[in-house]
């Protein structure tokens, strides 16, 4: 805690003494230092967490890796800064990290008042509730008077207040600093309900000693588009991050995967795939990075479907269905502008 306070203090000091950045400063600085400093969560399975080998993995981590692959041709050139929900924006504002990829909801206030820019949406989420099975609650409308565990500094706190207010129900909020403590509080029975983005609920549920002792309620009470964030006023860097994400989604749409990308690159006659893999079109010129940037992303990180299934989908303990995160042509809303 003390260290975190120091960190926050340090960030503030940095905010006050940093020279003013010129547009493109972050991309130049990242190229010069040779790695991307990426802000992630303090541990959220499926999105950003360390595996048993101590490496960071997850859907959010894959965005960081995609950016590193695009800039350096090497997805491993990322350094991670674990941040709590409270610290994340200050860390980004002060320049301590180059980008924030930490299940962060895109809202009007954050986009306008915090000096930040959202680069896109890598997961469409919504807030839900998890309750102890023993309570026998079937719907969120039965939660009048409940004690609710929340993680501090999230949109969750506001959505929860709005939801209970609009339904004319009362609740007791218990607000913890990190998701680990939130789970512990829920497990110890301090609260009846744990509320968070629904994807996180599944991730937190498998952290419980007995995951079957809790159920996720069907209601979704908010829209939570989660995506990577960069500093305001640095368009070159914003575009690199944005198109790194778009390349993954476009690759899925074209059916290019990490396994077949080499073959596709050799044999394809499809002009769309040729542009994606940097064989024709404007290549990396507009983004001021290597020509084969999208190829490197697909080769080393994979397309969006691969990243999704590996981290949160069927290939993971979370087993979240694609749902609205499916591609637009498969009935979802994931849609990326064309690479041409």
């Amino acid at each position: 805690m003390k260290i975190k306070h120091l960190l926050a203090g340090g960030s503030l000091l940095a905010l006050s003494t940093l020279p003013v950045a010129h547009a493109g400063a972050t991309l130049d600085a990242v190229k010069a230092k040779g790695f991307v400093q990426c802000g992630v969560s303090t541990g959220l399975p499926g999105f950003s967490a360390t595996n048993d080998k101590g490496q960071w993995t997850g859907l959010d981590v894959d965005v960081c890796r995609a950016v590193a692959a695009a800039v350096f041709g090497d997805a491993s050139k990322v350094k991670y800064t674990p941040l709590t929900a409270k610290e994340r924006f200050t860390a980004l504002q002060s320049g301590e990290i180059d980008m924030l990829s930490r299940n962060t909801t895109w809202t009007l206030t954050r986009d306008t008042n915090l000096g930040l820019n959202f680069a896109g949406v890598n997961y469409y989420d919504g807030q839900g509730f998890m309750v102890h099975k023993s309570l026998g609650v079937k719907s969120a409308t039965e939660l009048d008077g409940a004690a609710v565990c929340i993680q501090a500094g999230t949109t969750t706190e506001l959505n929860l207040a709005d939801y209970f207010r609009s339904k004319g129900m009362k609740y007791t909020p218990i607000t913890y600093d990190t998701s680990d403590e939130t789970v512990k509080g829920f497990e110890a029975g301090r609260c009846d309900v744990l509320t968070s983005d629904q994807s996180q609920l599944y991730a937190l549920r498998i952290k419980l000693k007995d995951p079957n002792s809790a159920v996720v309620l069907p209601e979704i009470i908010s829209k939570e588009p989660l995506g990577p964030v960069v500093r305001n006023g640095d368009d070159d860097w914003l575009k690199v991050v944005r198109w790194a994400l778009f390349a993954m989604i476009n690759a899925e749409e074209m059916g290019v995967t990490s396994k077949n990308v080499d073959e596709v690159r050799k044999t394809t006659k499809d002009p769309g795939k040729q542009r994606l893999l940097g064989l024709s079109g404007i290549k990396g010129q507009g983004l001021q990075i290597r020509d084969d940037w999208a190829y490197q992303i697909i080769k080393q990180v994979g397309n969006y479907a691969e990243a999704f299934e590996r981290n949160v989908g069927q290939g993971s303990p979370l087993k979240i269905a694609r749902g609205i995160n499916a591609l637009w042509k498969d009935g979802g809303i994931q849609y990326a502008p064309p690479i041409r």
Partner: protein
């Protein structure tokens, strides 16, 4: 100087050779450099914030907060402003600090005296206590008390009951809330009168002892007054007090007063941790009084208890108070570890949730630091005043 001007010596011409003027020059220079540095930091911060499109100013304090709070000493709900959340957080910080200071002092004095006990077991136990709690990180202790106590308590529907009025479960301790009716003011007035009377009796008794040497049972008389007078008023006005009992409804108890487990765990951890330091301070204070004083007191026929109360402690206090002050300051500042267990203090509510919702880190951290500084300086000022009162009066 006066010699120089009368003799018209050339000393005035050499500005650099006049140590007084030189000292002035350097001091002005230092102040100017420091001011310029702060000015630069301030300007640059504003410039950077504006450049990056981050909002500045204190207008956000009037915006609706929109989030709920676990515990508030003043009326609060989601429709109140961020300014109000600041107040809620501040009061919660002051509450836990005050409780912590009272209990840390109490435990600290008891254990400090126990440490010096001639009974081997008592003094060893006190030493064990000090060594354990002084050497474990405070955050760990807070988490321990919180997550160790929670699982031991029952769920709301199986609460521990005490006479159908007090309930204890994982959500906290539920006490009946007193509801005063008209006429209760007389009871308070009687209590006030009893306290004032006790003070006068104490003064009178001391004066009498000084002049005649006769003692008077001040303690028992005062206690009798303070207990008896309010009860008398209470009876005469027809018991103008009723209780609102907590009631199990739906998920939990409603009504009455709730003591949340977060407050309990934080206050407990802070008291126990700081008490270990205070115990050592008390021990050092007592040991600073030479043993000859004790022997002299015994020789005069004072009992050990009286010796401690009348001879040793008043002298030890001079050593104890300055160090006690810094422990009080530490305790207050340490209460900012509250967010770890979800106690809604200033750091959790204002420098936490509010900061995150508004993003105005510079203003909010600035205000928060200002508040802790003010609290600390106030405690410090009070303790300095008390120290002056207790200090040795040299004649």
């Amino acid at each position: 100087m006066s010699d120089a001007s009368s003799e018209k010596a050339p000393a005035a011409a050499s500005f650099w050779r006049d140590p007084e003027k030189r000292a002035w020059l350097f001091q002005v220079l230092v102040v100017a450099v420091v001011l310029a540095l702060f000015g630069y930091i301030f300007q640059n911060t504003l410039h950077n914030l504006e450049k990056r499109g981050i909002s500045t100013g204190f207008a956000f304090l009037n915006n609706e907060a929109g989030f709920g709070v676990l515990m508030s000493l003043i009326p609060y709900d989601e429709t109140y402003t961020f300014g109000r959340t600041f107040l809620v957080g501040l009061l919660n910080t002051l509450l836990v600090s005050a409780i912590g200071i009272v209990f840390a002092t109490l435990f600290g004095f008891i254990i400090g005296v126990a440490r010096l006990s001639s009974n081997w077991i008592i003094s060893r136990l006190a030493a064990l206590y000090i060594e354990i709690f002084r050497n474990l990180p405070l955050l760990l202790q807070i988490l321990f008390w919180y997550f160790a106590i929670l699982p031991l308590l029952p769920h709301p529907r199986q609460s521990i009951e005490l006479g159908e009025a007090v309930f204890l479960n994982k959500r906290g301790m539920y006490l009946p809330a007193p509801i005063t009716e008209s006429g209760f003011g007389w009871v308070l007035a009687a209590l006030g009168v009893a306290i004032v009377a006790s003070v006068f009796i104490a003064r009178w008794a001391r004066h009498r002892q000084d002049t005649t040497g006769q003692t008077f049972p001040v303690f028992w008389t005062s206690l009798g007054l303070i207990v008896f007078l309010p009860w008398l008023a209470f009876g005469i006005t027809g018991f103008p007090l009723s209780w609102e009992y907590p009631e199990l409804r739906g998920f939990n108890f409603r009504g009455g007063i709730t003591v949340i487990p977060e407050l309990f765990a934080l206050a407990l951890a802070l008291s126990i941790y700081t008490a270990a330091y205070i115990a050592e301070i008390v021990r050092s204070g007592i040991q600073s009084v030479s043993h000859g004083q004790t022997e002299a007191a015994y020789a005069l026929g004072l009992k050990p208890g009286q010796t401690l109360r009348l001879v040793i402690i008043p002298q030890a206090m001079r050593v104890i108070i300055p160090q006690l002050t810094s422990q009080y300051l530490n305790l207050t500042k340490n209460s900012s570890l509250a967010p770890a267990i979800g106690y809604p203090d200033l750091v959790a509510l204002f420098a936490g949730t509010t900061l995150n919702q508004t993003g105005q880190a510079v203003e909010i951290i600035g205000i928060t630091m200002g508040v802790y500084l003010t609290i600390s300086l106030s405690i410090s000022a009070f303790m300095n005043w008390y120290n002056k009162r207790m200090a040795l009066v040299e004649r």
